[in-house]
């Protein structure tokens, strides 16, 4: 019995020891499991896409962007430009335009396009080959083009060619020569351009609806002309158009690049001092388009599907409602807008929806554009989506998303000197201040949903189709090509 009791005591001790061991191992295993779980949790947090965590701990700090646009003047103050100083590369961009010189202001049809095609081809001192060689050898790239209101020019050059540019400009711009031979070649080119234009339904729908919208007003003119019209133009017509339209009071300039403000002013002197002070071009009458009309069908000369443009009056950039107007356009018809979401992402009825703002001297418009193989399904859905949004107002979620996107994307507009110069030229031409970009940004930041919907109600058509203040154009393609 005593032996047995001794054994039992031993067993009990043994059992107790075993229990302790199991307990310790269990705790250890639990700790290991906990560590592993924590490891997996933190690894998951590190590796899984988590925008909030990334934005909460920004990698890049203190790299603030500041708009550097200033206004500079020629020495006699008769010419001014919006200027952006940048010395990161030895290059300069210049963009200028003459207002009231475009195709809507032509005395003879086609003269603005022909002039733009022929500027900088030859001068009294330099024939075409010499002039082209001088431009090429000095890296001076230039192009002229015309719009409804303006004749515009783009110049890109390296700093070391500035003096050469001034001397060539003095020759080619102020003493151009339009030979018969060159006239004939440029007319051929323009004729081809107009034909190519007519092969593209996307571009061609614009002059078609502008004809319907503006009737006899010059904004209804075609941007290019055919051979018959061009044949009537002479060198004298070009000179006359230049003399009439190219003047300091209608000149708007954007300049950016490797120049100090003093060098930039000297460049203005060198290029534009010889211009006459005032233009002879008269203002256009204000057109009176009929905005209340049912939908209009247009027969396209080309295309394999239906092209749609819904046009309505735009708010001017100088108007205090403009920042809200643009934001609403983004919300409605940007590539991440409501219409795109419904028509493309949800119903796959189109390749895309977008909007274009056209600001002309006497009329500004917004066009929402799309195309489809299924117009019978797309059009009612497009109209319904817009009308519903107009009735109920922009939803808060869409407002917040697009407001944030607008603010976040602001810096991206300053990607290159050419985009900077285009932007500041446009601000200058629109009579906006040098700091307009930042002002518009501040206005968007301060916008509330109520203010936005108020602008939506007051400044947008109450419906897309029918008599609601917008014109709905349906461009139908021809029978199979």
């Amino acid at each position: 019995l005593a032996k047995s009791l001794q054994r039992t005591g031993k067993n009990q001790r043994f059992i107790g020891e075993m229990r302790m061991t199991i307990l310790s191992y269990s705790i250890l295993a639990l700790i290991v499991l906990l560590i592993m779980a924590l490891g997996v949790f933190f690894h998951h947090r590190r590796t899984v896409y988590n925008p909030r965590r990334i934005l909460a701990h920004p990698f890049f700090k203190n790299r603030l962007f500041k708009d550097k646009t200033v206004e500079i003047f020629s020495s006699d103050k008769s010419v001014s430009a919006y200027f952006w100083e940048d010395h990161s590369a030895p290059m300069i961009n210049l963009h200028f335009s003459f207002d009231k010189a475009g195709f809507a202001y032509e005395k003879k049809p086609g003269v603005a396009s022909l002039l733009a095609a022929m500027l900088f081809t030859a001068s009294k001192k330099y024939n075409k080959e010499t002039l082209q060689n001088l431009l090429n050898d000095n890296g001076i790239r230039c192009s002229f083009y015309h719009m409804a209101d303006t004749v515009e020019a783009d110049f890109t050059f390296v700093k070391e060619s500035t003096a050469t540019l001034i001397s060539l400009f003095q020759e080619a711009f102020y003493h151009p020569v339009f030979t018969k031979d060159e006239l004939s070649l440029s007319k051929n080119k323009l004729e081809t351009k107009w034909k190519k234009y007519q092969e593209d339904p996307y571009t061609m729908i614009v002059p078609l609806y502008q004809k319907d919208l503006f009737g006899n007003h010059p904004y209804a003119n075609n941007p290019y002309q055919d051979a018959e019209v061009l044949a009537k133009l002479t060198a004298k017509d070009l000179t006359k158009h230049m003399e009439q339209c190219f003047a300091k009071d209608v000149l708007d300039i954007g300049l950016a690049g490797d120049l100090t403000p003093m060098e930039a002013s000297a460049l203005l002197d060198g290029l534009f001092a010889n211009l006459k002070p005032t233009s002879d071009s008269a203002d256009l009458p204000v057109p009176q388009p009929e905005w209340n009309a049912p939908h209009t069908e247009l027969a396209l000369p080309c295309g394999a599907q239906t092209f749609i443009s819904c046009v309505f009056p735009a708010v001017e950039r100088t108007d205090p409602d403009f920042p809200a107007f643009r934001l609403i356009c983004n919300i409605l018809a940007h590539f991440r807008g409501i219409l795109q979401d419904v028509l493309r992402e949800q119903n796959a009825l189109t390749y895309g929806v977008h909007y274009v703002l056209r600001f002309n001297n006497a009329s500004s418009r917004c066009a929402i554009r799309t195309s489809s193989q299924h117009p019978d399904k797309l059009i009612p859905l497009m109209v319904k989506t817009y009308n519903d949004t107009y009735q109920k107002g922009i939803p808060a979620e869409w407002f917040e998303r697009h407001k944030k996107a607008y603010i976040d994307k602001y810096t991206s507009e300053f990607n290159s000197l050419s985009s900077i110069v285009a932007k500041i030229h446009y601000n200058n031409r629109s009579h906006l201040s040098t700091d307009y970009g930042e002002k518009e940004l501040a206005a968007v930041k301060a916008l509330t949903l109520e203010q936005l919907n108020d602008v939506f109600k007051r400044r947008f058509p109450s419906g897309l189709q029918g008599n609601h203040g917008a014109r709905f154009y349906i461009g139908t393609p021809p029978a199979k090509a």
Binding site: F60, K196, E199, Q305, A348, S412
Partner: protein, 413 residues
């Protein structure tokens, strides 16, 4: 150009182009896969896959919204040999863009709903972009496939109508898993970023991604079936008749030095006052505009000549007129002309650096064409070694290209 490069452990290459003008950066990921990699009968697969990449992934509901809502200008394109996803953004958004792109590389979903919609959208895109344009339709859908018959280049990037409609979700899934891997990708960062910063972020977001399978090897292209083909195409919607001549330059047909010589030849011919244009536009008044355009992808390419006709001419006559004019232009080519062409390319290089995104794409294209990063950095020095004799020799070689096609696009009577 401040160009640097390094490779992550998983094989993903990183190219950094520093430019500190504004606090912006262009972020792009290029996959070495395009329409060349599509199996027979599956044209449009690479492009449709690119579209699907903007739909959902495991942790992102929709990429386009995710990018747009965060101030990233995101877009993508598919070419013959690569697919590029790019975005321009404020530097503060870069890390987010990298995290998003890494998510897209290894977690994209090919769900049925997204596929059905994107399938229809691509079909609409084809109708809008290709079928609505007589020139694009005739060149990409008729002339190109004939020139490249029997090769990986025998179809358009967007794909034929028939093939697009037959693509399945499974096709896309297989294609994605096969080609969307770090070892088949290049990250391009251009803008306000240093190499050290790029390295830290690239390793953090892309370094952890694993390769899923070895990359497939493409089959060898078949030699051309016909040496020279003439094709007259007529459509009702043609307004401006076009003459088109294209030389097929098979893989490895031109060396790097010859590619540069061809680029300089193009610059020489493009100039308004060179003998070639003088003859065809001013004296003979056959064309109103002319372009000569060399195009390569992964060392395989074409030399395209396009001329808009002023007056109608038979195709055979146009071929003769074009070749005679080119020969004449080559005879009158001088050292001075070549120097002018070199200067032109040099200035183009300076101006190209102005745009963060364009510069990155140009670097990528040269890289895929076989130029090393050192050569790209010293592009100007390489150009300087090209001589007048090189230009003449490369033209002779192009004239003996394995195949040529001549096309005339005109209005139906």
């Amino acid at each position: 150009m401040q160009l640097s490069s390094f490779t992550l452990k998983n094989g993903m290459q990183v190219i950094v182009l520093e430019n500190h003008r504004v606090p912006l950066v262009s972020h792009a990921v290029a996959y070495h896969v395009g329409s060349f990699n599509e199996p027979r009968g599956k044209s449009g697969l690479a492009h449709l896959t690119e579209h699907m990449m903007f739909r959902a992934s495991k942790h992102v509901k929709e990429f386009l919204s995710e990018q747009s809502d965060n101030g990233i200008y995101g877009n993508a394109y598919t070419s013959e040999d690569h697919t590029l996803y790019h975005g321009l953004m404020d530097i503060s958004k870069l890390e987010l863009a990298m995290a998003m792109e890494a998510e897209r590389m290894h977690n994209a979903c090919m769900n049925t709903e997204g596929f059905t919609r994107e399938h229809k959208i691509v079909y609409q895109e084809r109708k809008e972009v290709i079928d609505s344009s007589p020139t694009r339709f005739c060149i990409w859908e008729r002339l190109y496939p004939m020139l490249w018959e029997g090769t990986r280049a025998d179809h358009s990037i967007i794909g034929s109508e028939q093939d697009i409609l037959a693509l399945t979700k499974e096709d896309l899934r297989t294609f994605y898993h096969r080609w969307y891997q770090p070892q088949n990708a290049i990250l391009l960062l251009s803008g306000d970023i240093t190499v050290a910063e790029a390295q830290t972020l690239a390793e953090k977001h892309y370094g952890k991604l694993k390769n899923t399978s070895p990359l497939p090897v493409l089959p060898k292209d078949l030699p051309p079936l016909v040496e020279e083909t003439n094709l007259v195409l007529r459509r009702k919607d043609v307004k401006a008749p076009v003459f088109y001549r294209c030389y097929r330059l098979d893989q490895g047909f031109l060396s790097k030095q010859e590619q540069l010589a061809l680029l300089l030849l193009q610059k020489y011919c493009f100039k308004e006052t060179n003998p070639f244009k003088e003859d065809l536009i001013r004296k003979q008044k056959i064309f109103s505009t002319l372009t000569l355009y060399p195009y390569y992808c992964s060392g395989l390419g074409t030399l395209e000549f396009t001329g808009n006709l002023v007056t109608p001419h038979p195709l055979e006559e146009l071929v003769q007129i074009f070749t005679t004019a080119m020969e004449k232009a080559l005879k009158t080519l001088t050292e001075q002309h070549l120097e002018q062409a070199k200067r032109d390319v040099r200035y183009t290089g300076i101006y190209r650096e102005d745009d963060l995104g364009n510069l990155a794409i140009w670097v990528l294209e040269q890289y895929y064409n076989g130029f090393t990063l050192d050569e790209i950095q010293n592009y100007e020095s390489l150009l300087n070694t090209v001589t007048v004799a090189d230009l003449r020799a490369v033209w002779q070689k192009v004239c003996n290209a394995p195949a040529k096609i001549n096309g005339l696009l005109e209005k139906c009577a």
